[in-house]
Amino acid sequence: MSIRALPLYATIAIFLLAYLICYIQFPAMLSTRVIGNLLTDNAYLGIVAVGMTIVIISGGIDLSVGSVIAFSGVFIAVVLRDTGIHPLVVFAMLLAITTAFGAAMGGMIYLLAMPPFIVTLAGMFLARGASYMLSIDSVPIADPLYQLMQRAYYVMPGRGRLTLLGMIMIMAVVVGMIVLHRTRFGTNVYALGGGEATARLMGVAVGRTTVAVYAFSGFMAGLSGIVFSVYTSAGYPLATVGVELSAIAAVVIGGTLLTGGSGYMFGTLIGVLTMGLIQTYIVFDGSLSSWWTKIVIGGLLLMFILLQKGLLRLRIHQ
């Protein structure tokens, strides 16, 4: 068994164990309805975490995604309100903007040789500021397509609903898995996270890969923004503050090494579901307070960071 896959197994084991505990206390939690809701409610987070996984495996971080999601919602809402452009065209425009935005950040990180953390911090301010410039208030979206998208679902056995949003998230994860594990680009991402200097010596185009990594994250943030706007039927510049933190937490809890070079896309899906499960449990319980979510997630973060550190020591020891 590969030592590198150990955090992934730990993630899966924790998720199953948590689900078991939930089930013992509240047998109703083992139903397709709960699972369907878990997927729908966390769809936007899951999608953005797919992009974040690739960024983190490449050894970077993207703090701008929460702001980009908010920008996306406001952009769509304002364009739909003020023009007669078809929503699908608006989606395409938006994805082009957010992808270019990500690419620009990647370019700056590479060209300026500055820490990704501070460059994407500037991106975070910029995207949030841009959404305020479009609108200060929440802008409702009443497009027929939106109503259609909200009502689109597949009824699973047990009357649970697999919504369109949930399906988009699963598709995003599948696309992420293919990109990360089945393309040369994906291998280059691991190479970058394993050691930039060595990767360059081995012929990896470091600049192009860095730009592509952040462009991919920007694309996923835009897609997440579309899903979030469908989920809430509105664009609000104050929305999704701190989602970048949740996404980073989900990626780490999913077994990805925060310093890059190691991790699995599937683990991120489990990480997102684990975080969703904690929230669902608290809702089911009723007496527990919501802040326990943050504390438990912080505890899980600590556990996984220490686990990774321990494994690193073990590998060096070998």
């Binding site: 590969s2 040369r184 291998t187 012929g203």
Partner: protein, 501 residues
């Protein structure tokens, strides 16, 4: 000739790293490149592989002049390199490492099975049977080296440069690697082999080229030289220097620091050492023999895991550098840039730093006192700097070394360890540092000098310890301290039978 250089010259500020070096490599030979640190080996390799741009001279590949601008270009021409470390990515699978950038694809997707088959194919003939789907870091360093060789041979295929490939291998693994090297030689590759293990050099090489101070010293068939001649050529002591007359150490035993059985597993075998007041102990040995490791044990930088240390007042605590400094020890490390200077801080701050660290944060050295100390040492050691406030990183190597010496002299230590104090320093500064050693010893300080320059050791040392294969193998005193005896002790394993690995 497969690959040759003609009058290759490369200059860095302050030093001429390569001085009109001519070198050639035939197809189907293993050609060892020998020399101490700073001899110009790595500069030569970096010029060959395009990592450095040469100042002048030619590089000919099969008779054609080439101008590689990067290691990738050199690789495409046919020159592949395997370094001691950082060749491949430990977090990727063996197959991914072998095929990175060339993975077989269908519709943009990597065909894993084909990729793994290709990797298996690339590894066939290397005598290792491993699962290419596992990540590289699950295999031993030897296997990683062979995988790196397989990749380099696959991508370049004519010239293979092995830069210290055996540094972290055990004897069995070295044989495994050598089998691969012999096989490649039989296939007609030209192989440049760099190692500081002379036994290995003699075992595998057909010809040897020796560099010293950036100059080509000799090239000859390996069978025509013995160890003595080789070491003499590498260390170079054409100048027969007479042993300088010097004051005998005060060997009354009272002021001695006695190390008994100190060592560190995997780095240096346990050894005994008694340091007398006012004594200069030289330490000789080839690169990688355990010289620096001895110094690190003595200073607590890599603390000893055995033995005891005591002086006339009882046991001495050497848990870490702080404890060692408190006990009056000082250490000027070999790698000035990473272990010595604090580049951004000023000359003044660098000079007072060790003393300040020993006094503790709450008792700052007054500004006036700092300036006085800095000016004093700048004058005393002739540190060439416009003023004491210049960042030390902007000074030349020799002046940086003097700043580090000043830093330690300011703490007034009783035992000063100098690891290669004169490497990469111009002749003037070199002489000044030797004079300085004589000065402080006259005042009663004890010094341990590690150096590759035997003339220098003979000139300053009262006695010389010879280190080989991570053991202290002999100690030369009095009349025996000559370059000849040192070379003989480094070269001859039969002098001390227990020293063989």
């Amino acid at each position: 000739m497969l690959l040759s250089t003609r009058d290759l010259t490369k200059t860095f500020p302050g030093t001429r790293a390569l001085d009109a070096v001519s070198f050639d490599l035939k197809a189907g030979e293993v050609h060892a490149l020998l020399g101490e640190n700073g001899a110009g080996k790595s500069t030569l390799i970096k010029c060959l592989t395009g990592a450095y741009r040469r100042d002048s001279g030619d590089i000919l590949f099969e008779g054609q002049p080439i101008f590689p601008q990067s290691t990738l270009e050199a690789q495409a021409i046919g020159i592949g390199t395997v370094y001691q470390e950082v060749n491949l990515l430990p977090n990727l699978t063996v197959a991914e490492n072998l095929t990175l950038g060339h993975q077989p694809r269908r519709l943009g997707m990597i065909r894993s099975r084909a990729m793994n088959a290709q990797a298996d194919e690339m590894l066939s003939g290397y005598g290792i049977d491993i699962d290419v789907r596992r990540t590289l870091d699950q295999y031993s360093v030897a296997v990683q080296q062979i995988v790196a060789i397989a990749r380099a041979v696959h991508l370049s295929g004519r010239v293979l440069i092995l830069d210290e490939p055996t540094a972290s291998l055990d004897a069995r693994e070295v044989q495994m690697l050598f089998d691969v090297v012999r096989d490649l030689r039989a296939r007609g590759l030209g192989i440049i082999f760099i190692s500081h293990f002379l036994d290995q050099v003699f075992e595998i090489s057909d010809r040897l080229t020796i560099l010293r101070n950036g100059r080509h010293i000799a090239t000859c068939p390996a069978a025509e030289v013995d160890r003595m001649q080789l070491i003499t050529l590498m260390l170079g002591h054409e100048l027969q220097q007479e042993t300088a007359t010097r004051a005998r150490p005060v060997a009354d035993g009272k002021d001695a620091i006695r190390f008994s059985g100190v060592g560190r597993r995997g780095r240096i075998a346990p050894f005994d050492l008694t340091v007398h007041k006012g004594e200069v102990i030289g330490m000789a040995g080839l690169l990688g023999s355990g010289r620096t490791e001895s110094a690190e044990v003595l200073f607590g930088a890599a603390p000893s895991d055995s033995g005891t240390v005591e002086d006339s007042d009882g046991p001495v605590d050497l848990r870490n550098p702080r404890a060692a400094i408190a006990a009056g020890f000082a250490f000027a490390p070999e790698d000035r840039k990473t272990d010595g200077i604090i580049a951004e801080l000023s000359v003044r701050e660098n000079i007072i730093l060790a003393l300040q660290a020993r006094r503790g944060w709450s008792r700052p050295i007054p500004q006036a006192e700092q300036i006085r100390m800095a000016d004093d040492y700048i004058a005393r050691l002739d540190i060439r700097t416009p003023d004491a406030e210049k960042p030390v990183g902007l000074l030349s190597g020799g002046n940086q070394q003097k700043v580090i010496l000043a830093r330690w002299l300011a703490t007034n230590p009783r035992f000063l360890i100098l690891d290669e104090p004169t490497r990469g320093i111009d002749v003037g500064a070199h002489a000044e540092i030797l004079r300085l050693i004589e000065d402080v010893v006259a005042q009663g300080m004890s010094i341990l000098v590690i150096s590759s320059e035997l003339d220098e050791l003979v000139a300053v040392s009262h006695r010389v310890i010879v280190v080989r294969d991570r053991q202290h193998v002999s100690q030369l005193t009095g009349e025996d301290v000559t370059t000849d005896t040192i070379v003989r002790a480094i070269a001859a394993p039969d002098l001390t039978p227990e020293a063989t690995t």
